[in-house]
């Protein structure tokens, strides 16, 4: 068993021990469930289309707020309590530490998404359902979550205060989720193209339409990797 997996298991357990996981799962399922099934205007019955578009759009926004809440403690709390010293003096590399933290947060999000699979099954029985596009939508949510977790762990490694980590992750997230898209539509030519390439939402929209483009995959993997590499770098500076 590698050190990363041992760390991930402990971290995942601490989410469930501290109620964070239950609050997240309940709120996530409550939010998405309400908008998919009950909201009236815009829910699946109103749209009369057997797809998960509403779910993907709501999940995208919900995860944008939830992931910083999951990641804020990952490194900041270890720094505050001093347990980082304990971890870094065990037979664990900085990279294994960061990767373990990433896996824990990613697994928690994956569990949350797994609980929405009944939506997938139910809606697929309601009409003409495009499995490919909807599976791609789930893939998009996983990739988007990975990117936000990368950003969140980076923010958490910058400070020993969880609130600061949360706000930092949210601020960086706003740029990728929202601001770059706005700037892309507000400008033209090369500048617009650059901002559009940086915008996380445009890549997510592209995948959730069912088009799995290598450009989008590379984008999400790059944002995640840069977040984790920077975190590793910051942790190694002590």
């Amino acid at each position: 068993m590698t050190a990363s997996w041992i760390i991930a298991k402990r971290e995942l357990r601490s989410y469930f021990d501290s109620l964070v996981a239950y609050i997240l799962l309940l709120t996530f399922l409550g939010f998405t469930g309400f908008f998919v099934w009950l909201s009236g205007n815009g829910d699946v019955f109103f749209r009369k289309q057997a797809d998960l578009k509403v779910f993907f759009s709501i999940a995208n926004w919900t995860l944008f707020f939830f992931i910083p809440a999951i990641t804020m403690k990952l490194v900041a709390e270890e720094k505050r309590s001093g347990t980082i010293e304990l971890m870094m003096t065990k037979a664990v590399t900085n990279w294994q530490f960061v990767w373990g933290k990433f896996m824990a947060a990613f697994l928690l999000v994956a569990i949350a998404l797994a609980f929405t699979l009944p939506y997938y099954y139910t809606i697929s029985t309601l009409g003409n359902f495009d499995h490919g596009a909807n599976i791609a939508g789930y893939l998009g949510l996983l990739l988007l979550s990975a990117a936000y977790i990368g950003i969140g762990i980076f923010a958490s490694s910058l400070t020993n205060n969880q609130i600061v980590a949360f706000l930092l992750a949210l601020i960086i997230g706003i740029c990728f989720h929202f601001l770059f898209g706005v700037m892309a539509s507000g400008s033209s030519g090369l500048v617009s193209e650059i901002f559009d390439t940086l915008s996380l939402s445009s890549h997510f929209d592209s995948i959730s339409r069912g088009v799995i483009d290598s450009k989008d995959l590379i984008y999400f993997i790059s944002v995640t990797a840069i977040g984790l590499i920077l975190s590793e770098y910051i942790i190694s500076k002590r």
């Binding site: 402990r10 304990l86 003096t89 065990k90 037979a91 664990v92």
Partner: protein, 305 residues
């Protein structure tokens, strides 16, 4: 495992926390690290455990530099403030640290059990760490440091927060472990160093100011023999003059009635010659006590300017 520290330096900003220190510790040796707050003890320990990277100098373990080979699994470390995952139960926490330190899965339950017994955690083993008293938390800290049976133990103030009985138990434990392992411990409690350590290293402002056994340090700081004697049945002034006239005497002070403090010249003992003097004058020598410099005094002398 032998540890060799060679010209180690570490600065925080412009302040040198550790300034060009070198020393060696051998297998089976318990080294006591003494020094006032901010002297550089903890920084040195953090560099040995590879938590901090030195600005210059090298640390080698069994001849291999830690800069090029990872030796973390050979080291057990109890940090100064004993950080722990408070939300975890004791048993789970020890299993977690054992797994992280590479203890084989099949051996983990036995190893955890051993540590629980060795550190006296049996009654508290199912509690969450946050529910434990400071003393028990300290024991958990010690248990996690020793869980993988490391050959080197680095303990930063291991007896902080323990009651007197626990202190004695932990000292005995460290002594037992120290016979087969290399142990470096730091403390502010001077009698503890004397009771536990084979060798003492005093560090001040990042530099080593003394290195040796408690006895060597006493001799070094004392230089000359000081005796406190009580001589009866004679005139005080007469006794004083006669002792002063001895060839081995450097100075004599009258402390109180019939009591004198005699300082001998360097490297010479005056016990016999004083006894002979008393015999010769029919004085009764009722007390002769060599004056021992306390470790506290040595420490104060070396670390205050």
């Amino acid at each position: 495992m032998n540890i060799a520290i060679n010209k180690l330096t570490k600065s925080y900003g412009t302040q040198k926390a550790v300034d060009d220190i070198s020393f060696e510790v051998k297998t089976g040796e318990i080294l006591g690290f003494l020094g006032p707050n901010g002297a550089g003890k903890t920084t040195t320990m953090k560099m040995i455990t590879q938590y901090l990277v030195p600005d210059s100098g090298d640390i080698s373990i069994n001849g291999k530099s830690i800069a090029t080979s990872s030796t973390k699994s050979n080291i057990g470390y109890l940090p100064e403030h004993n950080p722990l995952y408070l939300e975890m139960p004791v048993m789970d926490y020890l299993s977690f640290t054992a797994a992280l330190q590479g203890v084989a899965k099949s051996r983990i339950p036995d190893q955890v059990k051993n540590m629980v017994m060795m550190c006296g955690l049996d009654i508290e083993k199912h509690k969450k760490i946050s529910e434990l008293s400071k003393g028990y938390r300290q024991r958990v800290g010690l248990a996690q440091a020793m869980i993988h049976d490391p050959e080197i133990l680095i303990l930063d103030e291991p007896t902080t927060g323990l009651d007197p009985n626990q202190i004695v138990e932990i000292r005995e434990l460290i002594k037992t472990l120290g016979s087969s392992k290399t142990v470096i411990l730091s403390t502010h409690i001077l009698p503890e160093v004397e009771a536990t350590c084979d060798r003492i290293l005093i560090i001040n402002r990042g530099k080593i100011v003394a290195d040796g056994t408690a006895d060597t340090l006493r001799k070094q700081s004392q230089g000359t023999q000081v005796l406190r004697v009580k001589i009866e049945d004679g005139e005080m002034e007469d006794i004083k003059t006669k002792i002063e006239s001895l060839s081995t005497t450097l100075s004599v002070d009258i402390l109180e009635r019939d009591r004198f403090e005699v300082q001998s010249i360097a490297d010479i003992q005056s016990n016999r010659i004083i006894f002979d003097l008393c015999k010769q004058h029919n004085w009764v020598l009722t007390e002769m006590v060599p004056f021992e410099t306390k470790l506290e005094d040595i420490f104060r002398n070396l670390t205050t300017n």
